[in-house]
Amino acid sequence: MSHPYKDLPDYAFWRRSVVECNEVNPAVSPSFSLRPHEKVATAGSCFAQHIARHLKKRGFSYYIAEPAHPIMSEDVARTFNYGTFSCRYGNVYTSLQLKQLIERVYGEFVPHESAWQLETGLWVDPFRPQIQPRGFISVDELERDRSQHFASVRHMLSSMDVFIFTLGLTECWVSRSDGSVFPICPGVSGGKFDHEAYRFQNLTVREIVTDMSWVIDRLRAIRPGLKILLTVSPVPLMATAAGGRHVLSATTYSKSVLRVAAEELCEAQDMVDYFPSYEIITGPNARGSYFASDLRSVTENGVDHVMRAFIRSYTDQKADAEMVNVSTQREDDHVEKMEAIIQTNCDEQALDPLVLRTL
């Protein structure tokens, strides 16, 4: 008896590829592969940070276009969000935010709001409010840092080979005056909330597809042949402002919209793939084990599974290949050298402390 299911591959069947499978890998039809020398840039929500970290560990050319200065230790660099993503844009939660970021770095959109002052007197960037602890010491410093950051983003866009974007949220807050979208609701990490100034928006599939289509076309115009990988963050919403809705329902809705949008984009565009990290983490196969005790954070085991699937599907590497030992200590010979010289000078003081040396 013949029917369409008869000759389907194993991955089309739940029992064979989910229930009875050792390790689920839904990424079955990659349209491109990654080569080790290709510059891989990342942006997106918190989950994208995991991908960035693991790419580095696995020896890929994780592209950091806005690196930390060598005088910074790994800890300081991390605190100031150097290397969290390919540039210091912070979390880019929505398609609208990504679109506006690209417009802003090319001077095509200049939001009305440029800086928010904190109670401490320091300043934060409304579009990167958590990029560094305490903020900037002046508007001048903030704007110079932003200008430098934009130059890094432009450089990244024009030289990356692969762009991985993690769609995180549909809910966002938008300025009524110019439509600029904020990564975090004004008033939470700077700024002052005002219903007259800001409105809530829950992006629809249509809006996301429209914005992301613009983004993809723009990225390809800057960098023809760019490979794009979309993922949906499995991290549930911290809170929902979609009134009258439980956060669990709001999360399901949001992730569903993002998932459908990602699917439509991949169907419509060449060399744009959806990578199923969402399914790996949240699917019944994981039995909830890839969420930490807060039922939001993804465990390291979960991220490892995602990355093994990624490696198997998109590279020639073996999934269990040895990780690259990424040094956690930044080396700065200059500081060590100066420390030794100055210590010697300090020690020499003991030899003739009574001598009045004049410079």
């Binding site: 200065h69 010491i137 010289i341 100055i342 009574l354 009045l356």
Partner: protein
């Protein structure tokens, strides 16, 4: 009877040298934290800050249960390790105290990142400060390290290996050097306040209107000279007069 105990790294030596010149300061005692037996001066053991045993014994031997005024000159050179000369990978930063003209094509680091770098580098010295604060029993101050020397020419003329390094890398502009020093000073002042101890700024007669060290006090790029040490002694003794029990 009162006595004074100065405990610190290299900055304490100018004070000690000044004290040796006059019987006026005969009751001043000194402990140099660079002595091998005092290293490391403090550690964290099982979550507790623990002072070096040899150091605590040395302190107790000097104090002998008498009333004593303690003045610390812990650390104080890290601002020059990081910010006296240009890093081979040049960068610039703005600061809240002095307007610095932007240098084209040189990357800017956020001020708070520069502060983060220096404060991280001071973690051991701040630990020592806290350990001493928790050990000594008596009025206690941390002395601000000498402000920077403003003159680029003077710094370039520094003799020896130090001078070679300065000429090799080039002197940072004085406003940025001031900022590095001020970040360090603020970090020590904040730690002193947390520990309930005083913080004595550099003697005002040693500081010019812009906040730099006056020429009379210069010794080398990092330290004050013996005259500066005398000014600090006068300042500390004057401060002790405000303490009722001494």
């Amino acid at each position: 009877m009162k006595r004074f105990l100065f405990i610190g790294h290299s900055h304490v030596r100018a004070i000690e040298a000044a004290a040796a010149r006059s019987p006026r300061w005969a009751d001043a005692h000194f402990l140099d934290l660079n002595r091998d037996e005092f290293k490391p001066a403090a550690r964290i053991i099982d979550g507790r800050i623990v002072l070096n045993r040899a150091l605590s014994d040395a302190i107790d031997r000097i104090v002998k249960g008498e009333e004593c005024f303690f003045a610390l000159a812990v650390g104080g050179a890290m601002h020059n390790v990081l910010g006296l000369v240009h890093h081979p990978v040049k960068f610039q930063f703005m600061n809240p105290w002095k307007q610095v003209d932007p240098v084209p094509e040189v990357p800017m680091l956020p001020f708070e990142a520069v502060r983060g770098v220096l404060e991280e580098s001071l973690s051991y010295q701040l630990l020592v400060l806290r350990a001493l604060a928790r050990h000594v029993d008596g009025p206690l101050v941390q002395l601000q390290s000498p402000p920077p020397v403003p003159s680029k020419e003077a710094l370039l003329a520094t003799p020896g290996v130090y001078g070679q390094a300065i000429r090799q890398f080039g002197v940072l502009d004085e406003k940025s050097r001031f900022a590095w020093w001020r970040i360090q000073s603020d970090a020590f002042e904040a730690a002193a306040e947390e520990e309930g101890m005083g913080f004595l700024p550099a003697p005002s007669q040693c500081v010019d209107p812009e906040g730099f060290l006056i020429k009379e006090a210069w010794r080398d790029p990092t330290h004050g000279n013996v005259w500066y040490g005398e000014q600090v002694l006068s300042q500390v003794y004057g401060e002790a007069e405000n303490v009722p029990s001494l």
